[in-house]
Structure formats: structure tokens, C-alpha cells
Subunit: 129 residues, 2 copies
DNA sequence: AGAGCATATACGTGTCAAGGGATATACGAG
DNA sequence: CTCGTATATCCCTTGACACGTATATGCTCT
């Protein structure tokens, strides 16, 4: 359970993070809003805390949890390498053609052609009597 | 294993995706570059294919796999809600202060103050005699 | 001190996915 | 048809992890 990606793989944890982005919350508030048993909330918060996604401050018996951005940025950084790709991707381009810079259009064309050339269409030459 | 988040939680799959973003690859090429056994590669590719991360075309005995952007965009969309947060986050602001728009600076100030007000500092009034 | 609430932890259980290894399928070449 | 290569699938074992329930810790108020 080390990487940020494994942490956000869990739907309940994503829900907690989405909740916390609005404002800090106590365990009980999370428990009520997400309708999940308290130990479950605490356990997920523990995982999130140890992974650096959240931090808590003590307020009497309550713990107030709030978001920390770093691990999410790490995910965002990994995703960055694909943004170049999908903004040049054919389907995406078709959908967004109107909103795009025509110079990209030509760049994409070359990429597409390159791929097409790579593809070897083997002609099935199997006599089979 | 439905959500895109679970798919990219696996390090080997992330490696495969990072490889495919450069150009399409056959199973054997992936196998060699990532030094993982062929059945492992095939199994991960299957998962990726069924989740819509990649698609394959047949080239004789080879299968050429290439990236499809949609599921990654889904992840990116979920991450979007946090970008607003971390661009307003204090630490991030301190680090990037020089590169930022001063109008954001004031917006962040209000957010921070709001949070500070929410925090209840309970004064321990415990006579204890 | 004792009651009550808020939160954390411990334990037992079921599920599910990853990996290794062997094997099956598909295709091309001779 | 037979062999070699490329890829997919099958079986089995192992290990994580999520959850439920029960219980422990800590704090407040009276």
C-alpha cells in the first residue's frame, strides 16, 4: 500500500477525499455524510494519513481532517505524460476539431501516417490444396 | 476491477501504459523492455484492453497494442476537483509564489481565513480537584 | 469519580487479484 | 504436415485488503 495510486483505488477513500476538498471534516461528519460505519472511516483515514493525503488536528475529542495536496499532485504528474498524447489523439481531435489550433492538425497527420506505415498487412498465402 | 483507478493501481500496468504512450508495441516488445514474463504481460494487457485503456490490431502472429485515452481522461477529470484546491493551498503557494497571479493570492487569503475561523480551539477547563 | 461521546485499534473472515508454470491456440515458413 | 514463434488462457497458490463486530483509549461534563 505504498503508492498513491493504490490509495485512491479504493472508492470509499476517493469519496472521503472528495468530501474533504470542500472543507475539513470530523470523523463523525464523514461517517454521517458517506453513510459508512465509523471504524471503516477511521481505517481509511489512517491509510490516507499515512500516505500523506490528509492531516488531522485535535479538537477536543474530535479529529478534524483536511486535505494535503502532494500525493494527488504526484498522480497528476504521472498523468501529465498522457495529456500530450490525448490532445493529439485522432478521436479526441475529431471531437474537438473546431476548438483546436490548425497547426496541430498537420502534426497529427504525420503521426497517423507513421503509424499506418508501421502496420504490416500480411497476405495469407496458404495454398491448402 | 471495474474502475479506471483500480486498473492503474498496478505498477506493471502503469509501466505498460507509459511505454505505449511513446508508440504502439507488440507483446514481445513490451515483454523485453519491461523484463516481465510473457503471460504476465498478456494478462495485464487483457485487463487494460477490457477496461478500454488499450486496443490491439493483429499483425500476423503479433498483436500490436496502442493506447486509448478515454479511461485516463476519466481519472484526469476526477483529479480536476483537486486542482482548484492545491493551486490555492498555502504550501503550494509559498513554493510557487513568484510564478503566480497576484489576484489568486487574495482569493486564497479569504479561503484560508474561512478555515481558520472554522477551527474551534477548546480551552481545557478541567478543574481536576 | 463516573457517564457518555468520539475516535482508534484488534481480531477473524471472505474475497479477489497477481504471479508462476504449464499448456493451448494461431499463424507463417519450409 | 510439421516445426517454431507469438500470444492467450488455465490452474494453483499466496498475499492483500476491506469489512463487521467487539473493544480500547481519550476527552468532556456534571
Amino acid at each position: 500500500m505504498e503508492s498513491a495510486f493504490e490509495i485512491i483505488a479504493e472508492p470509499n477513500r476517493r469519496a472521503i477525499l472528495s468530501l474533504l476538498v470542500l472543507s475539513q471534516q470530523s470523523v463523525g461528519e464523514i461517517e454521517r455524510q458517506l453513510r459508512m460505519p465509523q471504524p471503516t472511516v477511521s481505517k481509511h483515514l489512517r491509510v490516507l494519513r499515512e500516505a500523506g493525503f490528509v492531516e488531522s488536528t485535535v479538537d477536543a475529542q474530535r479529529r478534524l481532517y483536511r486535505l494535503k495536496p502532494e500525493p494527488l499532485q504526484e498522480v497528476d504528474d504521472w498523468l501529465a505524460q498522457f495529456r500530450r498524447f490525448w490532445s493529439a489523439h485522432v478521436d479526441a481531435l475529431e471531437r474537438h476539431l473546431d476548438r483546436m489550433d490548425p497547426s496541430m492538425d498537420r502534426a497529427m497527420d504525420r503521426a497517423t501516417l507513421a503509424k499506418r506505415k508501421t502496420r504490416r498487412k500480411t497476405t495469407r498465402l496458404k495454398p491448402r490444396t
